[in-house]
């Protein structure tokens, strides 16, 4: 028994040594051996749902690790194939479709910047689950983020036509057509996702609404900066200068408490790169 404990200690020690010295030699997790969903579906026999869960776990691990990666050329190359496999194995895997809608269509670096793949995934979800209004709504949402407002409105109209769809969907098409691209419409779209069944979708919506708050605050600060420049002929050199001019009461901070950045040369206001809200979305900023 003591020998066993000793050997176990040796194994743990060697593993820790490997971890420290050979980390770079570890195989990258960017390989997907079987990419054809129909093949995986057959290989999974009667355990398709468990395989779907495994691919789902891989998808979020892939997304999370890529998002946190500091590599300048990071890519979410496996996100679509993994979600495609998960949803083929379990065609009712709602979160996989909606996760794809949000993060495949999201611009870099927070997402894959592939609205085409997001729409393909959601179309697949709509075909498999025609009774769900969420998928046509999400397709409209992706088009909206892609600034294709007439297509977005058309999909919102289709979503509203699904039996059981909420009442707020019906006027959404008209609002999108009339005011597509403004901050209020963006806010309305994201607020609707706060009532989603999926926790991930709700969390993403909460974050995006906070970002929209930041965008609104930056617009107000930008107008103060312009006012300062109009009065004194030069951009404000610092927040203190704006405070001394009576335009501000305190150093402005984003909703997460990180001070905004004021460019001394141009007077342009932006969000701090270290803020958890960076980068801010471009939607709602026509």
């Amino acid at each position: 028994m003591p020998l066993c404990v000793l050997l176990m200690g040796g194994v743990v020690g060697l593993q820790a040594y490997r971890e420290q010295h050979f980390r770079n030699l570890e195989v990258e997790d960017q390989i997907l051996y079987v990419r054809t969903p129909s093949v995986v579906a057959r290989l999974a026999l009667s355990f398709k749902d468990v395989f779907a869960d495994l691919y789902w776990i891989r998808a979020i691990q892939h997304y999370g690790s890529t998002r946190l990666s500091s590599s300048p050329d990071k890519q979410y190359a496996l996100l679509y194939p993994l979600l495609d496999l998960a949803t083929t194995l379990d065609p009712r895997f709602s979160i996989a479709y909606r996760f794809g809608a949000l993060f495949l269509s999201e611009g870099e670096p927070g997402g894959a910047n592939r609205p085409d793949q997001a729409i393909a995934l959601l179309e697949k979800g709509r075909t498999a689950n025609p009774e769900r209004w969420e998928y046509p709504y999400d397709i409209g949402f992706v088009y909206y983020r892609n600034r294709e407002y007439s297509k977005a409105a058309e999909w919102f109209r289709q979503a509203a036509g699904v039996p059981g769809a909420p009442n707020w969907l019906a006027p959404m098409a008209a609002v999108t057509l009339a005011r597509g691209g403004d901050l209020q419409t963006s806010r309305l779209l994201w607020q609707n996702l706060l009532s989603s069944e999926e926790r991930w979708v709700r969390t993403a919506a909460e974050r995006r609404l906070t970002q929209l708050d930041a965008i609104e605050q930056i617009r107000q600060l930008q107008s103060l900066s312009s006012e300062y420049q109009r009065r004194l002929g030069v951009p404000p050199p610092s927040w203190t200068a704006l405070i001394n001019a009576g335009l501000l009461r305190d150093i402005p901070r984003d909703p997460n408490g990180v001070p905004y950045v004021l460019d001394q040369a141009s007077g342009v206001v932006s969000i701090e790169r270290n803020s958890s809200l960076w980068p801010l979305p471009t939607e709602g900023t026509p």
Binding site: R42, S46, K48, D49, I57, I95, E198, R199
Partner: protein
């Protein structure tokens, strides 16, 4: 009838003492409990994954148990040299085979019940530890519909046991019987492919053969309602009844064939 019950009771008592079964059930229970940890990695899909993994564990380990106990009908008796003593008793061969089968199914159901209790305990713990706002999650965490899935797994495994018993009357090799049973189980998952074979081949003979196999092989995929019950979708009572009747008819056919073969087998 009394002899059948006597054999079944004897087989049940003998099987439940088997340490290998304890190991399989313990492994399945550990997997279900660990699914709670896996669920933490899954961005809000913990309940679905725990449900999926639990049902899959019951199905997979139940399959191991069904094959493991089912194929030992003859081989184990020959190994222990007890077949001669059994046949010398006033038990007719058909009573022996049928009694054995019901004893094995009883053992299987007892093991499945242990796994199901562990499954519901994990789900109950999950529900207990959930934030109050999530109690209204649909489908419910501890969903009574899950028992339909477990029931269908039990029915599927009863057919698998009948297949194992059938092969064991043919062969004295437990390994061969296990391989044949596992092969039939895998083939039984491809019912839809066999049915639609004519869409992928040009040969009418091959298509007819595939169609014949579709009707001949047990359609195990029909018992698989795991996805529906996990997503809280209704499984029609008529579907359940017809599938259970299909399973019962298949078991009856296999046991009749097994009795026929076993009655003619010479153990000298």
């Amino acid at each position: 009838m009394r002899s059948i019950l006597h054999v079944a009771r004897h087989v049940f008592r003998d099987s439940v003492r088997d340490k290998v079964l304890y190991s399989i059930v313990a492994f399945a229970v550990i997997l279900m409990v660990s699914s709670f940890l896996i669920g933490q990695l899954t961005a809000g899909q913990d309940v679905k994954i725990i449900k999926d993994l639990g049902l899959a564990a019951m199905s997979l380990f139940g399959l191991f148990i069904a094959i493991f106990i089912g194929v030992g009908l003859v081989s184990r008796e020959i190994e222990r040299r007890s077949i001669y003593a059994v046949l010398a008793k006033p038990v007719r061969r058909h009573e022996f085979v049928i009694g054995k089968y019901f004893g094995l199914v009883g053992t299987l159901l007892a093991n499945l019940a242990v796994m199901a209790i562990a499954y519901y305990l994990v789900l109950e713990y999950m529900r207990f530890t959930m934030p109050p706002g999530q109690f209204t999650v649909s489908p419910a965490v501890v969903d009574p519909r899950l028992s339909i899935g477990i029931g269908m797994i039990a029915a599927e495994l009863a057919v698998v046991t009948a297949v194992a018993v059938f092969w064991s009357t043919f062969s004295s090799s437990a390994m061969l019987s296990a391989a044949l049973t596992a092969g039939i189980w895998v083939a039984g998952q491809f019912g839809a492919d066999l049915r639609n074979f004519d869409q992928v081949v040009k040969s009418p003979a091959a298509a007819a053969l595939a169609r014949g196999l579709y009707y001949l092989l047990p359609n195990f995929a029909a018992f698989d309602v795991k996805s529906q019950v996990v997503h809280g979708l209704p499984v029609g009572a008529d579907y359940i009844v017809v599938t259970l009747l299909y399973g019962a008819a298949y078991v009856a056919m296999l046991l009749t064939a097994a009795v026929f073969i076993f009655s003619r087998r010479d153990f000298k």
